[in-house]
């Protein structure tokens, strides 16, 4: 069964350092999402791509976060510089534009970021 791949699974960094996360969605899924999940909370959208274009980045802290999906397939999320409050699980999800508009999203295993 096809899955969303993410790496690394765990990342520990010191504040003010740069970190990057990678996501490879399910083949054929045009829509890709990055969510952040703080411990004890539900996931919250950071950025959404349709193919290579950003559809929604209204919740992305653009002074330190950036995201790209250059060829409309895999994606990278970067934080520079990392702050203590960025410690969270970063989830990638993808979806297919199906004709029933179900919006079902498939999630990867996430990257657990700890900022010291």
């Amino acid at each position: 069964e096809a899955e969303v791949a993410q790496s690394p699974r765990y990342k520990i960094t010191e504040k003010s350092q740069a970190v990057a996360f990678w996501c490879d969605p399910i083949s054929g899924h045009a829509t890709l999402y990055w969510y952040r999940q703080i411990l004890g909370q539900g996931p919250e959208l950071l950025v959404q791509f349709q193919d290579e274009s950003v559809v929604d980045d209204s919740q992305l802290p653009k002074d330190r976060f950036s995201a790209e999906r250059l060829k409309g397939v895999d994606s990278t999320l970067k934080i520079q510089p990392a702050e203590l409050g960025d410690s969270a699980m970063y989830l990638c999800a993808s979806s297919l534009r199906d004709r029933w508009i179900t919006n079902e999203q498939f999630f990867g295993p996430g990257t657990r970021l700890t900022v010291l």
């Binding site: 045009a30 829509t31 999402y33 004890g40 909370q41 539900g42 996931p43 919250e44 959208l45 959404q48 349709q50 559809v55 929604d56 989830l91 999800a93 979806s95 534009r97 029933w100 508009i101 179900t102 919006n103 079902e104 999203q105 498939f106 999630f107 990867g108 295993p109 996430g110």
Partner: protein, 114 residues
């Protein structure tokens, strides 16, 4: 703004007990509704979804949910829980438009004792 409320933060049950987890959403238009589950150490998986038709939706592992439009609710139920149902459960909503992000509730942790 859209929002999702899950009223139970932590539910503790014995095996074979019945389960109902509450979920209410706030959105004025047509919605898609989801329940996702996250087992310990695993990624989010879809339990069930509603996008149209019969408001009583059946999912995997014996779970079901009922969409009550007048109450803006989508409660999750299971008649008899098992120890393996111990997990965190998330309710989510999206507008019924292609390619829109999900709005999640804060989640309910279910602990089932054997």
């Amino acid at each position: 703004a859209q929002s999702v409320s899950q009223h139970n933060h932590h539910v503790i049950l014995s095996e074979a007990a019945s389960l109902e987890l509450g979920c209410n959403y706030s959105y004025g238009g047509t919605v898609n509704l989801f329940w996702y589950v996250q087992y310990p150490g695993q990624h989010l998986q879809l339990l069930l979804k509603y996008f149209s038709g019969d408001p009583l939706v059946k999912g995997i592992k014996g779970f079901e949910a009922e969409f009550i439009k007048s109450k803006f609710s989508f409660n999750l139920r299971k008649p008899s829980v098992q120890w393996s149902d111990t997990a965190e459960y998330f309710c989510a909503v999206s507008p019924n438009q292609a390619g829109t992000a999900l709005i999640f509730g804060k989640g309910t942790t279910l602990s089932v004792s054997s």
